[in-house]
Amino acid sequence: MKLKEVAQKNAPEITSLIVAVTLWQIVAEFIIKRELLLPSFFDVVSSFISTVESGTLFIDFSISLMHFGIGVIAALLIGIPVGIVMGWFKTVNRISDPIIEILRPIPPLAWIPFALVWLGLTHTAAGFVIFVGAVFPIIINTYTGFKSVSKINVEAAKVLGCVKQRSLIRHIAFPSSLPSITAGIRIGMGVGWMCLVAAEFFGVSKNGLGYKLWWHYGLHQMDFVLMYMFMLGILGLTIDKVFRKYIDKRLLKWQSGVVV
């Protein structure tokens, strides 16, 4: 009953997926015929089932999430305060701006050698690369949010007795910048996720979605490679969706009037 309703409602999307998978299966099995070049849909499904059954997929998920978590949490802990003081205090901005502008354009993956030298083959090293990817969007967006706090809100707060810089930041500037900050976090998490495969490439661990992708590539098991690619996509999408949902529901309810 319910399933039928869902199917009816999403008919175009479901049709599109079924057609794509069917085409893929036909092309892989009857036209290309070489698993190395293009594994078929069923090859990928069977590799999925085997990794689920052995439990390795779960471990890979956890390890990757750990790397990602280390990087993102560090980026939040550093990026948000840095963005806040840069956006709020003009002198801090002028002092830190040139440094940030020099570091920012460096691709996060270029930091890998130093990550390894400084931190060795550790989870933290993988986390560091993700951190570098995630931190700049968070800084920049927090900064922008704080820059664009409306003057009238600050003045209204002052007249109501909220005069200390710390209180103004906490009660006015921070909540008013939250849309910008969360947008920065989303972008930062996206960039961090992109860095995950490369960050795990060097074998900081024998598990992890990114590491496994390289490892199976080494064994020419392209069905596994493709399966891990899909897993990276799905997990990345899920993280973004969950975060977005939480933010919109809990933190940005007051924005519903705004056209995004």
Partner: protein
């Protein structure tokens, strides 16, 4: 107590091209404790600037403003302000906008909510307690801003065209409510308006400004007894007098 003295206040603004605007010139005005003063003047004559200086949001280029003899240099909850433009905190619900002031003064949550509800009732918005500002109309937002300023229990309340965006009906109701509060709380009010009707109904004293540079041209004592009647012959006569003075000023310009 809330006696405001404005002594020789001038205010310039210098824009990016170095061009100087004189918003106020040599203003002298005494607002007595518990007095209701209305300020009338053409657009751009410096009414907002004057209120901002009293609030402490702006420091005058010269001269000084004192509250009970103490020089005003920065904002203080003793001097509340209702802004001309939209100033609610969009991320806070209506009730939390109103509790903001009391919370900042260190009042506990329950107590401040109690007070907020009282003022919410006063402006007729109880059922919008948990709405966000974007869900309110312009006039409703303004009423919340008024409740927010009142909930902070100021000694001097500065109101910059607070009823400008309201319909006549609501405007009349709120004028009466404001007078009630003013009498009950024994506060000083400086109220900017464009409406002579409003000024004659509310004020003890009407201050007229001219523009560029903003100067006081007339101070009219409104010695009509309270409670006032909007349409009594006395009121009508007085209103005619004020309108006549305004017209004369316009001719002079």
């Amino acid at each position: 107590m809330g006696k405001v003295s404005i002594e020789n206040v001038s205010q310039y603004f210098i824009n990016r091209e170095g061009y100087k605007t004189q918003a106020l010139k040599d203003l002298n005005l005494e607002i007595k404790d518990k007095e209701f003063v209305c300020i009338i003047g053409p657009s751009g004559c410096g009414k907002t600037t004057l209120l901002r200086i009293i609030a402490g949001l702006e420091n005058p280029s010269s001269g000084k403003v004192t509250l009970d003899g103490e020089k005003i240099t920065k904002p203080d909850p003793k001097r509340g302000m209702v802004f001309q433009e939209y100033s609610l905190f969009p991320w806070r619900t209506v009730i939390r906008n109103i509790t903001f002031g009391p919370e900042m003064q260190g009042m506990d949550k329950n107590k401040s909510e109690e007070i907020a509800e009282e003022y919410l009732k006063l402006v007729g918005l109880e059922q919008f307690k948990n709405s966000y500002p974007y869900e309110l109309s312009g006039g409703m937002r303004q009423r919340v801003a008024i409740a927010r300023a009142l909930a902070n229990d100021p000694e001097v309340l500065l109101m910059d065209e607070p009823f400008g965006s309201l319909d006549a009906q609501t405007r009349n109701v709120l004028q009466s409510e404001l007078l009630d509060i003013w009498e009950k709380k024994q506060i000083t009010i400086a109220f900017v308006t464009h409406s002579v009707d409003e000024a004659v109904f509310l004020a003890d004293k009407i201050v007229m400004l001219t523009s560029r540079p903003g100067k006081i041209t007339n101070i009219i004592d409104v010695n009509l007894p309270r409670p006032r009647n909007r349409t009594s012959p006395d009121t009508n006569q007085f209103r005619d007098r004020v309108l006549k003075i305004l017209a004369e000023e316009r001719v002079k310009e």
